[in-house]
Amino acid sequence: MAASVAKSRSLPGLLVQAALVVIVLALPLALDPYGYPLFVATQLGVYVIAAIGLNLLAGYAGQVSLGHGAFIAIGAYATALLTVDHGWSFWLAALAGVVLSALMGVLMALPSFRLSTWYFAFITLAFAQVFEKMIVEWRGLTKGFAGVVGVQPPSVFGHVLEPAGVYWLVAIIAIIGFWLVNNIVHSRFGRGFVAVRDAPAAAQAAGASPARLKLLAFVIAACFAGVAGAFFAVQKTVVTPDDFTAEFSIFFLLTVVLGGLGTRWGPVVGALVFFLVPELLTGLESWRMMVYGAALLALMLFAPHGLVGAARSLFDRLRPKQAAQPAETVPPEAAHEAAHVERPAISGLSLEVKDLRKSFGGVVALGGVDLSVAPGTCAAIVGPNGSGKTTLLNVVGAYYRRDAGAVLLGGRETKGLSPQQIAGEGLGRTFQTPRLLGELTVLDNVLLGAYRRERASLAGTMLRLPGAMLEAAQLRAEAMELLAFVGVADRAHDLASETPHGHQRLVEIARALMGGARLIMLDEPAAGLSLTELDRLEQLIRRILALGATVVIVEHHLDLVASIASHVTVLDRGAVLASGSPQAVFADAAVMAAYMGERALNDPPAGDLCHPRPAEAEGA
């Protein structure tokens, strides 16, 4: 995906796109103005419009709609009924159809968007089934099985459009729709959608509300379906319940899966290829659902990014590899250079935790924990596995709801705030296992952090208005600067999934800084790092502290903790065992007992007890 962004902005890419637009628009000149091929081409355009919307929803935002046909039906019926029965102009009727479709979309999304994704799939499936029945049931409104007959083509400036005119209208709308969705995909909204799909917690850490993003994706998809429905009615001139069976929805799902979920050209390619298939399948009518099912299964198993994805991986394999960069080791001078990036000072936030309690069922994860971190200092939380360290971070960040206690961030109680709101207050975090969006570039991952800071409106982003473009460019430059600050600028354009583990941790820190974090919680940042990487991490944390930010670090690596933290809190089974300066805490016998067991104390290993080796600590 990321690779295609760069490609599309290149000159040959633009030329190919311009040539495609010319071919699409010139098509009617080569066809019989009243013939079947033009009819089919118009229908194809209608399907492409609907598929583009569904791809945004199912492909990018990961919300599978199994009843998309129903939203097309709403647009089609609204347009047909309002123009035929009530004499509305096509344009007004189509607008009403789009609004209705979007409203139904909101209604379907509202109950499900707080829940797992598959609820949404079920609800849309049920909606399509109910809607299909209702079309027949509300005979008075919809004319039942007979359908609405005689839908007239729209007029432009008083001229009723000929079939070629309708084609042009559909083609232009499809092209504009493609452009708009493309702009969304490459904006903060697009990054947010992918985050909702692949790592909802990362979206929240960046201050984005998964629920709102899902709703947005669904409303956009429903609008596209409504537009497609309006032209569906015009192009067929008759609208009947038989047009909108369950099969129709499955057809659209297969279209986007075939072309490639979450790929730019997927819906176009899928519609183009799949549109010809039912024509070929006429002899196999009774096997159609079997063929659809088998195709969906095979594609999901063997080509999850569809034809476009398969073509791209083939292309990548055939293309000569660029000189491979060394994966693990970064030249020391690069790390050195990183130190020279100037960043504005950060005014660190204080954190005050009082008597915090959290249980999971009968298991007490936090049994009254106190913690106090002064602005601009580094506090470490250590303790054996299962002692409640990560739970503490999650309750502070509101990822878990607390049972009791107080959490004050910068002196303000955070009770009742959502994780994304707390992120907006200046709380940044990294995760124990890095939550990067593997299909986006490293740079895009850092940009996700700025989700809440970016002010451009959806319309400005969609239409690429100057203000929005300027802001996007500024944030991009800042993200590059932050990547240089953490020392991975050379990997900015690589896919996050292809960057080594140690770098992923640094990218997460850059993402937190990008969000304007004034207090950063690092969850085991040193786990799995090599010695060189560990050294760089320590330097980085020192530089972040030097800027003025507050750091809370959960870590098993006691050498690192002893060296950077000014205050250490030891948790054991959800309670604070010891708290104080690193020297004092690590000399405490009770702490050592919790960490290494009683026997280790009675028979101390050769070495300094104040600085146990990490291997021993982790083995405990």
Binding site: A126, F127, Q129, A201, M289, G293, Y399
Partner: protein, 292 residues
């Protein structure tokens, strides 16, 4: 309004509860909500009808073959359609599409083998579907048996979850990695859950056959009402599913009686939407979410 609506609602509701329980059995350790479940119920009804009614086998033999057959097919769905997708990404919802695909394949395949005509299935003696009057309701012995058996099955399954194996299932559902560390094999449990969830769907089909007749069109409606019962009763909660099943069955019967039979799906759908709006995790509690 007559009291028959209540009887109809309880009978239909029992069936929805059974479908919901079959969803839950499969969902608890795997977190997969199988979209082919409706067609598996339908397949169970068809196999049993063919063996018992058409071929005249004794009911217990037909029942065993049905349960094993549907269970094995569900296991095949796991191996072919679900496990490979989950192996690629634990968070993805690719399985929504692959289990839907399995559902399309089963529906079309069964339709081609059996055709659209329903098969009448008689319950084993002494149960009959002959109706009589009981406290003002028109009921049959089989209907009473079905309602009672559903309650017994739900309670029995709750007991199973109290055993060692049952607790392992719950442990895996809650935290796959932690369970693995304590010697539970999640892969084996997933396979078993698919087999048992499928077999239970087959059993549901067998039990539904005398009431609804065995027909290839049963799948989609049972899928959605089973989902409705599971969601309203809180996913994974079998007692919740039972009560939600009754609620949905009675609501549907009321909608059909007061409005028109054509509205019964719409009424159920509205009920589910409203419940989920107010209680997103259903009426009977929310599962733990330990995600980060």
């Amino acid at each position: 309004m007559d009291i028959d609506i209540l009887a109809r609602g309880l009978v239909a509701g029992s069936l929805y509860a059974l479908v919901a329980v079959s969803f839950n059995i499969l969902y608890r350790p795997t977190n997969v909500f199988n979209f082919a479940q409706g067609e598996l119920v339908m397949l169970g009804a068809m196999i049993f009808a063919s063996l018992a009614t058409v071929l005249g086998w004794p009911w217990y033999a037909a029942l065993i073959i049905t349960l094993v057959g549907v269970g094995l097919l569900t296991l095949l769905i796991d191996v072919v359609a679900v496990a490979p997708v989950l192996a690629r990404s634990q968070h993805g919802t690719g399985w929504v599409i692959t289990t839907l695909a399995a559902s399309l394949i089963i529906a079309n395949g069964v339709n081609r083998i059996w055709g659209p005509d329903p098969i009448v299935v008689r319950p084993p003696a002494p149960l009959t579907t002959d109706t009589f009057s009981l406290a003002g309701m028109t009921v049959s012995a089989y209907q009473i048996f079905l309602v009672l058996l559903t309650i017994i099955l739900v309670l029995a399954i709750e007991q199973v979850y109290r055993t060692r194996q049952g607790k392992a299932v719950l442990a895996v559902a809650e935290d796959r990695e932690a369970a693995l560390l304590r010697g539970v094999n999640p892969l084996r449990l997933s396979r078993w859950s698919f087999f048992l969830g499928g077999a239970f769907a087959g059993l549901t089909g067998v039990l539904a056959a005398p009431v609804l007749y065995a027909s290839t069109g049963l799948g989609p409606a049972l899928l959605l009402k089973g989902f409705a019962a599971a969601a309203v009763g809180s996913i994974g909660n079998n007692r919740g599913a039972l009560i939600a099943g009754y609620l949905i069955g009675v609501t549907e019967a009321l909608g059909a009686a007061l409005l028109s039979p054509g509205y019964q799906e719409a009424v159920v759908f509205l009920l589910v939407l409203c419940v989920l709006l107010v209680w997103p995790h259903g009426l009977f509690g929310r599962p733990f979410a330990r995600t980060v």
